[in-house]
């Protein structure tokens, strides 16, 4: 159990180092997804199954998709095809793939050995989290929903003006 924690922590720290030292944004994104999966593994080891699931679904799933879409908008044209071929070279994906394989092996080992603590009372169950969220923390949930609404309106406002400015003539307003 302790060694599983050490391995997951090492994977998280190594992949985070890969994020802040990466040259291409897509490489950094790959490393960051591995880092998020490693942190989800640590959550699982600490008995926070609900947080682990949220980390994978929302962080590694939804938020990273936003980054990928923006990167797609920043790299249009035929130049990106050459870049894409370069990105798929083995040097790019071998290191994240090895880190992901380590995490997968660890997860399979833990599930097979049955030591993750689903039933032994050392886990904080999703039921308790839900009861707390909609009990004493109800005001916080409402405030967070207002924050998300503000983010939605703000992002729509910025993107709408960007679309209008692009339709007027791309690059005309460029100040550089």
């Amino acid at each position: 159990m302790l060694y599983a924690f050490y391995i997951a922590s090492a994977v998280a720290v190594i992949s985070t180092l890969g994020v802040i030292t990466g040259r291409h944004a897509v490489h950094a994104l790959l490393y960051f997804i591995i880092s998020l999966l490693a942190v989800a593994m640590i959550f699982l080891l600490f008995g926070a199954h609900f947080a682990a699931a949220l980390e994978v679904i929302i962080y590694a799933g939804a938020i990273m998709v936003l980054f990928v879409f923006v990167m797609m908008m920043l790299n249009p044209g035929p130049r990106s095809v050459r870049k894409e071929r370069h990105w798929l070279s083995p040097g790019t994906w071998v290191c994240p793939a090895v880190l992901a394989l380590i995490l997968t092996a660890e997860l399979i080992f833990l599930l097979a050995s049955g030591t993750v603590g689903f039933h032994d009372g050392t886990a904080v169950t999703p039921r308790e989290v839900g009861m707390a969220l909609f009990g004493p923390y109800l005001l916080g949930v409402e405030l967070v929903s207002i924050l998300l609404l503000a983010g939605l309106v703000g992002a729509y406002h910025l993107a709408w003006r960007l679309g209008v400015s692009r339709a007027d003539g791309a690059g005309e307003g460029r100040q550089s």
Binding site: M1, L2, F5, S9, A12, V13, T16, L17, V19, I20, A25, A28, L29, F32, S35, L36, V39, I42, F43, L45, F46, G47, A48, F50, A51, L54, I58, Y59, I63, L66, F67, V70, M73, L74, G117, T122, V124, E128, V129, M131, A132, L133, Y137, G140, V144, L147, L148, G151, L152, G154, A155, L158, A159, L162, R166, G171, G173, R174, Q175, S176
Partner: protein, 102 residues
């Protein structure tokens, strides 16, 4: 507690947070700066969950859910602003966007 010392979990959270701070300081690409901010938010969430697991209380995971929502809103706005920076300056260099208008 599953036999894992809570101090070591907090050490990992601190390491990840320091790596995020270093990323903000050394990178000049706004996209990488935003990624480093995400690393820092994630590290603070890890600290919350580890501390919540120490006393077997759900409060840590509740705070993690809040941090997740904050990160989602921040990423949506930050990426829209990054698109604006790229549109105006033609580059993602944070040092180029150093002047104010008006």
């Amino acid at each position: 507690m599953n036999g894992i010392p809570v101090e070591q979990g907090l050490i990992v959270a601190g390491l990840l947070f320091v790596l995020g701070v270093a990323g903000v300081l050394i990178r000049r690409n706004v996209l990488f700066i935003l990624l480093s901010l995400e690393i820092m938010l994630n590290a603070s969430g890890l600290a919350f969950v580890v501390a919540g697991a120490r006393w077997l209380q759900p409060d840590g995971q509740v705070m993690f859910v809040f941090i997740l929502a904050v990160a989602a809103a921040e990423v949506a706005l930050g990426l829209a602003l990054i698109l604006w920076v790229y549109h105006w300056y033609g580059t993602l260099d944070a040092d180029r966007a150093c002047g104010m208008r008006g």
